[in-house]
Amino acid sequence: MPGKWDWLKDEIGFSNLLTGGKMLLKVISGKLSVDDLTKCALCPNMCRHTCPVSIVDGRETTSPAGKARVAFMIREGRLELNLENLEPLYMCLSCNICTLYCPFEFSVADLTRPINEEAVKKGVVFEEFKKVFENLENYGDVYGAKSEEENGKGKVLYIRGCTIRNELPELSEKALSLLKKLGFEVFTINETCCGIPAYNLGNVELFKKLADENAKKINQSKAELVITSCPSCAYAYRVLYPKYGVKLKPKVVHITEILGDRLKGLKAEGEVTYHNPCKLALGLDQKELLKDILNKIEGLTVKEPRKEFFCCGYGGSAISRLNPELAEEIAQERRKQLKDGADKVITACPSCKLALNSDELEVLDIVEFAHQLLGE
């Protein structure tokens, strides 16, 4: 079989080799390449249709390639590193749906993150973020809630995450009960935020500090398995911590990952659709998991949503704080897409549930749904 670039080698004749074709040959042999941010900045936005911000906000500046272009100009010193120019870079949900359609498999969040990190280092920080950093520094909780819970001991540790602890404590109760029904003897600890809000907002130092604290607590608990209901926590533990050299001894799973076949054969009625949490579906590469689990339930009609992947509007930590109206607009758009599937939605993330649940759409976490099916 001919090679990918043989056609070009055929076309670049001897004379062209002397006038610059040599450089092209270096490119096609991988010896010369362009940096990733520049590549993204030069793209005509071939992932625009996947970007919830771009679809809803409509601004070129917050489109995926638009952000890359602004980041590129900041990096090159052509645009100033100030809050006004940073704002579009933070209009990102970190959902990474763009990656699915990028010929280079780039994540725009990852490409622009170095600029945000540089800004935090230089003290160019939005007031809205300073409060988050304070809460995390002082309480290890993104909401700033102080916990005096005692650390338990055992083999299976259940981590709730900040959102469930603060906003949906009943989900924690149901998860504990569900895990017990499924045969897991679980314990809890006095949790510290996994650090992902700090990471999302460009505060790497704080993220690393929280990661170290978490690792210490979790490793000291002697747990062999960590189960969490929060996809962001699972993503931080499994994907981000290793990147930053932080080691967790126990295996970490999202609760959906242990449900697997355990709901198979259970009976339900009616129609549901599903909302894939970005950090579970894309972050942990479990694109089919939620749909598969639901499809194994007897009698349940599982309808596909209009868009398989579309963030609820509250991912990435920044938009909901800097531009809550936009976050709500994105949630509203997602509700419309889900309603094209069914009026009842199953998801697997507390933030997604909070974002999407409304008068017109009943949104249940898979934990609640499974809990119902197994009999409350």
Binding site: L8, T38, L42, T50, E60, T61, L79, F104, R306
Partner: protein, 474 residues
Amino acid sequence: MLDEIMKKSKPKNIENAIKKLSEKLGNKKISIKPADLFSYSHDYWLITFHWLLQGKVPAFPDVVVWPESREDVVEIVKIAHEEGVPVYPYGGGSGVLGGAIPEYGGIVVDVKRMRSVQVHEEDLVVEAETGINGHYLEEYLNKRGYTLGQIPQSLYPSTLGGWIATKAIGQFSTKYGGIEDMLLGIEAVIPPGKIVELKPHPRTATGPDLRKLFVGSEGIFGIITKAWLKIWPYPEERFLMSFASETLEDALDSVRRILRRGAKPAVVRIYDKIETKRHFYKFDEMYGKVGTVIIVEGDPKIARTEKEIVEEEFKGKPMGEEPVKHWLETRFIVKEVSEFAPLGVVIDTIEVAVNWSNAAKLYYNVVNAMKSVKGVLFASAHASHFYPQGVCFYFTFAGLPPKNVSATEFYNQVWDKAMKATLESGGTISHHHGIGRHRAKWLAEELDGAYELLKKIKHVIDEKNIINPGNMGV
């Protein structure tokens, strides 16, 4: 810190206009922030990305506005007209000829927040605001069992308004047509701030077809705010076919005969030998030949008959479904500019149309003309859209400017050669990318006396010349 290359002037009354926009629309819908002005200082005219890499932009607007309704658009056009300030409609910014560049400064109007959509199923009509994203619209229809059949390579970044304004066409055009064939009704705002609404009908004989005035208007007459388009039931059957022919002429003539018999394959693409090598290198038997991919789709009975006609008429070795699947999987991959432009390689595509009788001649003339420019590394083409009367050739060139020749000079040299060869070979200078600012001089040449008519129409609609001034050279 970012220089402007194309800026002609700054509007005198811009401060008044911005003040009025702020009063009428509220500050949330407008911006004068540097990052926003930068984002709208260009579209996807490829040579301008060489400028961007050097910290230069085509031209900054003075303000960007994001209307949320046609009433907002009316206010914007009224204010612009009153103050004599230019207005530039903006969709997905994927136009490749500089049609959206605010070269006289003023107001960029991005309609992407206007994106409502509804389907009228019995009438097979979709009604949508023009800021709707192309892929979003198609996916919305697919979920309901329909298709618009408009699948350009820019489907992901572009908008409905951009399609109408540039007279866009999609990869499935041989069956479904171009946007002009789909358009049933249109709503636009023209100076001095008046709504023009042409309602959708199956056909109408109500004087000259004013809807067509806006198709390909590239934003020089007004801002298109809504459209009604034909839709089709989503195809139940789809056949994938491909062929390897010895010559380009064999493949072209095969398609000509297929279309003469009335068959309408949705997709037909004939790649010259270079592009066949480039796109289908994994298929040994196609290497060195002229490759063709064909998709026939629709009602199963009709599609089966069309498939038979294709099989009867095609002169070339059948290569099966796999090359077509490969094309389907890779058709939205656009990365050459990202990979090569920063290294100084100048790349662009040029699409032209020609009648069958001149088709092969035009292909060779244009390829040879482009290759004659010093520094061109390759020039190639595929035929991408077909009609009973002729064909669209989509040329690609890449090259490295020789010493002492700037990227822009080199780029213009190749374009000059290609446009001249097209006109001399009996072709038209654009099939679907349109004119923009780049092709304006050749438009005057092609339209000849009719170019004056275009200018007169522009003047009657927009007497102050505030709507996308300078675009198409009018």
